[in-house]
């Protein structure tokens, strides 16, 4: 490049720079004016901003405030006595939350194929289902998402004529549950409790039950810093902290109590630097972590991850003796967009069969609330070691436990903001 060209370019660059800068200033001024005219709020809006109402204006169900979910004219249950479709049945599920053998049994029985697609979060699943981007027949929501699925008409009302196992096999409390009176849209799939798991060999003499407040076990674990884990789940961690602080409800929307719980967890993070994850079933057996907030089913699964030479007897689990600990109830639902609604009903019935439930448990580790899946039977069948017997629930514990139920939109945002601060600490 000649020096003259270079000079010209330099001049051009200068003018360009000037013009760009001027343009940017004008643009910013215009944008500033435009943004000034924009709304500036982070508040939730609509009916679900009310504390006792969820999506679609459906009241938020609680054990003492049962809800009958609404039916809609444009979303009706299928008629009785229809022939099953030819399939393939499309199931939308969490990873490893269905025994492949159970699927094969269904395929053999009905001469159809079953295809399972997995999701990593229920929001992701709802986004795909509501956009009708995918046409699945069966999904596995939790009760916290039920309002949204019903209001969005993503799930189809059930015709219980196809699901006789609901009445004959399912524990009565969950055959007509408080979150879906009359089982209009769902049947129960798996139940679980959230408790404290630990390695007895690494922490000799330790037992949360010996503490005045057992949940304090995490706050007092400064001596095993780096060996402590919490579930990477806002409802679980903040819910447990609320119980530690004396709350009797893990579904509350009280900003003060949530802020206090958040501050307490932040204190715990400073003291113990816990790891957040949901792979306690692997971390405890490997010895990477010694103390973990755990899902009961994960601990059952942990027995299959024990290293050679380490007995499963070193694993321990605690859930409150007052039976008011956190419990979870997952559901089975038939999806409105599916092409095989009859087959989907038959699949739900299949999963509620007693023998099927035991076979399913042997793979996924999570208990189904059906006859034959009580603690005595599962321990006797050798599926759960005696030292982990308390990972299994009986019907009365599901009645008295604290279920993670749906929250209003504003309360959900409140919980999420608290969780965000904890995870960014």
């Amino acid at each position: 490049m000649s020096s003259a060209e270079s000079e010209r370019n330099r001049g051009l660059l200068t003018r360009r720079t000037f013009l760009s800068a001027s343009g940017a200033v004008v643009g910013l001024s215009a944008a500033g004016g435009l943004l000034g005219a924009c709304a500036n709020t982070t508040a939730s809006s609509g009916p679900s901003a009310r504390p006792d109402v969820g999506a679609g204006g459906i009241p938020l169900a609680r054990p003492d405030r049962p809800v009958t979910l609404p039916l809609y004219d444009d979303n009706k249950a299928i008629a009785s006595n229809l022939q099953p479709e030819a399939g393939p049945l499309q199931v939308y599920n969490w990873v490893d939350y269905l025994n492949p053998e159970v699927i094969k049994d269904f395929e053999r029985k009905h001469g159809v194929s079953v295809q399972v697609t997995t999701f990593t979060s229920l929001d992701e699943a709802i986004a795909k289902l509501s956009a009708e981007a995918v046409r699945f027949d069966v999904a596995v929501p939790s009760i916290a998402e039920l309002n949204r699925l019903v209001a969005g008409k993503i799930v189809r009302p059930l015709n219980l004529d196809y699901i006789p196992n609901l009445k004959t096999n399912v524990w009565p409390w969950l055959a007509d549950p408080w979150y879906d009176r009359g089982s209009r849209y769902t049947v129960p799939y798996c139940i679980l409790s959230t408790g404290i798991a630990w390695r007895a060999d690494k922490m000799p003499g330790f037992d949360p039950a010996k503490l005045a407040n057992p949940y304090d076990a995490f706050w007092q674990a400064g001596n095993i810093k780096g060996k402590v884990g919490l579930l990477d789940d806002q409802r679980e961690v903040l819910g447990m902290t609320l119980l530690r602080n004396g709350a009797t409800d893990v579904n509350l929307d009280d900003a003060k109590q949530i802020a206090k719980a958040k501050d307490d967890v932040l204190e715990l993070v400073r003291r113990v630097n816990p790891k957040f994850g949901v792979n306690d079933y692997e971390k405890l057996p490997s010895g990477a972590l010694w103390l973990h907030q755990s899902w009961s089913g994960n601990l059952v699964l942990a027995q299959h991850f024990m290293p050679k030479g380490t007995s499963v007897e070193v694993l321990r689990y605690w859930w409150p003796a007052d039976r008011r600990g956190i419990v979870g109830i997952d559901q089975l639902a038939v999806l409105r967009g599916g092409r095989n609604p009859v087959l989907a009903h038959l699949f739900l019935n299949h999963l509620l069969d007693s023998a099927t439930a035991v076979k399913n448990f042997s793979f996924i580790g999570f208990q189904q609330p059906v006859r034959g899946s009580d603690p005595d039977s599962l321990v006797k069948a050798g599926l759960v070691p005696p030292n982990l017997r308390n990972t299994l629930l009986v019907e009365s514990q599901i009645r008295t436990g604290q279920p993670k139920a749906a929250l209003s939109q504003s309360a959900t945002a409140l919980w999420q903001d608290a969780w965000s601060q904890i995870r960014a600490a």
């Binding site: 924009c38 982070t42 508040a43 999506a55 949204r148 790891k275 903001d417």
Partner: protein, 293 residues
């Protein structure tokens, strides 16, 4: 003589690409960030600027300032990316230099070997690190073998582990362009420097290093950009709050809950940070090319 539009038409595919995959998604991001969330917790983008709600953008940008809600994650992101980038330079430069200058006939083989681990998925490679760094893993066994009785627990929320994993995960993307850049340096310039009396170190510092700066910048941009948005390396290697990066916060808000507009706003914060970094890159490369001419 071709009409004036003829040559300009060649830019059309690029312009279309830019519109489809850069401009439209960026506008969609702004629309989500300034939009509402429906009852199913799904975003309702505000496509018209007049309907924008900038509350979440405000919250994200004010939270990104020192002392703000998201400052800790932004600080972590900046520190980890800069440290991982420095590691890439320290480890990657000698490797690229050796391959470009001294590998001879084995150059192709070495390049293939360099890329070979990338046939394995990123997730699997990170999981392999979990095995290596576990309390009784090979790293600690090696440390114990040399007399360190109590080696650190690398997976217990250690920033060092996250930085090392980030560097490991992205380093070939740094080495490859650098290798190509070093390979392209005119050998006669090096000979000239030597003829003029420069010692080997002087040749490297005054000729090779300045001439390889554009490739270093390109390699740095290639590795830094994905590192800034990374969240799963930290999830797998640490999982602790104290090593959270901005990508983890974005993931938290976008994966679930009724504040996906806040998640989108945090993505815009990340883009603003990257814009500063990219502006420096453009400025530096422009300066290099001016120098070269």
């Amino acid at each position: 003589m071709y009409p004036r539009w003829y040559w300009r038409a060649f830019a059309l595919p690029g312009v279309l690409w830019l519109c489809l995959f850069v401009v439209v998604p960026t506008y969609a991001l702004v629309a989500v960030a300034t939009g509402r969330i429906d009852e199913l917790f799904q975003p309702l983008p505000a496509w018209l600027p007049g309907t924008w709600n900038i509350g979440f953008l405000n919250k994200a940008f004010s939270g990104a300032l020192p002392g703000g809600e998201y400052w800790a994650t932004i600080r972590n992101t900046l520190v980890y990316v800069v440290a991982a980038l420095a590691l890439c330079w320290v480890i990657g430069y000698p490797v690229a230099y050796y391959i470009a200058r001294h590998a001879g006939r084995t150059k192709s083989l070495l390049l293939v070997l360099l890329v070979l681990p990338f046939w394995v998925s990123y997730l699997m490679r990170m999981l392999a690190w979990v095995g290596l760094l576990s309390p009784d893993g090979y790293a600690n066994q090696a440390l114990q073998a040399v007399g360190i009785a109590h080696p650190p627990d690398w997976l217990a929320g250690q920033p060092l582990s996250v930085i090392a994993a980030l560097a490991y995960g992205y380093i070939p993307f740094f080495i490859l362009p650098l290798c190509a850049g070093l390979d392209r340096i005119d050998r006669s310039l090096l000979d000239a420097a030597r003829d003029l009396g420069a010692a080997p170190v002087g040749v490297f510092l005054h000729v090779t290093l300045p001439l390889s700066r554009p490739s270093m910048l390109a390699g740095s941009a290639l590795v830094a950009l994905p590192m800034f948005g990374d969240f799963y390396t930290n999830d797998l290697i640490s999982g602790a709050s104290r090593t959270s990066m901005l990508g983890n916060q974005v993931n938290l808000y976008l994966l679930g809950g009724p504040q996906k507009n806040l998640g989108a706003s945090l993505v815009i914060v990340l883009m603003a940070i990257l814009l500063v970094a990219m502006a420096y890159y453009v400025y530096a490369t422009a300066r290099e090319s001016t120098r070269a001419t």
